[in-house]
Symmetry: C2
Subunit: 314 residues, 2 copies
């Protein structure tokens, strides 16, 4: 394939990184670029200058349509998009795209995030994950038996883990658990930091902590957290295991919560995340006797293509 | 009263502060001193030099017995004492005192902390609170109808909140919730910090959050925490209320956990803590329809006297 086949540019612009791909008319990636030019590093709103520098090699034949998602559509990004209410799939996201014609003659379509209110009316939001989900169906998963046909419970672990209820590729609802954010904050800023200095791998300890965290549907977490300190002081386990146990406790609690959100996933749980984190969650599910399978982590650009095609941008 | 009546010196030495009192033979306080000479500021183990400087005015008539409690008995303190297993009251603490004869001829008795294993064998520890509890019975509470006769559930809110099951002044068991530590870590180090910058008092929001946090016995906390972010983004409440709502959510979860630890306190809950924090917990109990009453916050020196007397130090 050659550059001349380029039909769409996809941009995944986060707070600390910039990534872009050039795609052909079938969504295949022809070229990639990435840099540390995250949103926080952009001065005086010079978003287009940063973008232009990055994609200049792909524009030698003229402008191409651009689709963007990620934190670039948040309040601290380039163009803030409102949240679209669930249920929503690629076609809904296509209709909700926010279009920008730039002074330099570029057309950029920004993907919105999604909002959801649970049965109790409580609010939840996502921004970026909806695009990854849109990409799962078209990322060759079908042939591996992992397609998003039917009802799926998709778990996307991370700073703010998402548990997403997907039916035939549309997101019916979701629930966020603040697991990774809480883990990092606690590991470095509570009494546990005294015992998490030198960490060791401890799969057995992790599994035990997952089971403890999941006990009684994740209740009692504030007490269980302190027992990490007490157990280390009383010699129940080596202090070096504290980080693994903290991770297990929180992930166990997250799983107990998530299962109560969507208890009856007939086809097992699909984990979407980076390799190390996906493996950690798979181990946690396994410790609880729950089956899971992993999907390719990075379906964001496939999702952008799927939304762009639904919007007739390509 | 005059200095010559001094019979016992009590030391409450924490990581960032040093406090001491001179007591007479009945436990009445004759004089007080306090400084920022916390344990962390002591160089090269020169604990006795710092102590001697602080209490010099009280030693003009010769050495007096000294009793010390607080973090001064932890691994990072002066003399590390082991944990004494529950049940334990003042007489048990008196027997477990760790005695030190210093080179300068002082006699110092260090109070040990307590350990407890719940029905499930899980570990818990306290260090300092046992001395406060020992002081509650002798701090004039009896005459106010708050004495520790009978069965009491004592709640000591703080960085590591203690829920203490006390029968006739002896501690039968306890449970720690990491509430304050988690609150501070999350408020300053998670995505919530974006919305907790300017905080406002919001008693209604606090009460609502307490009820949400206590729902289903404190389960689902990781999801509820993220809803603080989502609710603010979706305009459900002003971002300035986030800190109050975070506080309410965590305290509500703590109360749900604590109630399941000791559900049948026949005489109501006794809150022991600083004025502002005690008032916050009283409001939280009230939001849940649970009665509580407050005890004087600082019974540490009264507790030291009670233990010293049981040990015939005074």
């Amino acid at each position: 394939m050659v550059m001349a086949d380029g039909k769409l540019i996809g941009i995944d612009w986060g707070t600390s990184t910039f990534r872009a791909v050039l795609m052909d008319g079938s969504g295949a990636v022809l070229a990639r670029t990435a840099s540390a030019d995250g949103l926080l590093s952009v001065r005086d709103g010079a978003f287009e200058a940063v973008l232009a520098r990055a994609i200049a090699p792909w524009e030698t034949g003229g402008r191409l349509p651009i689709i963007a998602s990620g934190m670039v559509t948040s309040r601290t990004g380039w163009v803030e998009t409102p949240y679209l209410a669930c249920p929503a799939g690629p076609a809904d996201l296509a209709r909700a795209l926010k279009h920008l014609e730039t002074p330099a003659g570029r057309h950029i379509a920004f993907v919105t995030g999604l909002s959801f209110r649970g049965p109790d009316g409580e609010p939840d939001v996502m921004r970026g994950e909806e695009t990854q989900i849109a990409g799962l169906g078209s990322a060759g998963l079908g042939s591996a038996g992992l397609g998003l046909a039917g009802t799926r419970l998709v778990v996307m672990p991370g700073t703010h883990s998402k548990w997403v209820h997907v039916v035939d590729g549309r997101i019916l609802g979701f629930r966020t658990a603040m697991t990774g954010d809480v883990f990092a904050a606690m590991k470095d800023n509570t009494v546990l930091k005294l015992t998490t200095g030198k960490s060791v791998d401890a799969p057995e300890a992790f599994a035990a902590a997952v089971r403890a965290g999941a006990g009684a549907a994740g209740a009692g977490l504030l007490g269980k957290l302190f027992r990490l300190r007490a157990g280390s002081l009383m010699g129940d386990f080596p202090a070096e295991e504290t980080a693994e146990r903290l991770s297990g406790l929180l992930i166990g609690a997250e799983i107990a919560e998530g299962r109560s959100f969507a208890p009856d996933s007939p086809t097992g749980i699909l984990i979407v995340g980076g390799e190390a984190l996906a493996a950690r969650y798979a181990a946690a599910f396994s410790a609880l006797g729950i089956g899971s399978e992993a999907a390719p982590a990075d379906a964001a650009f496939a999702g952008q293509f799927s939304i762009a095609r639904a919007a007739n941008l390509v």
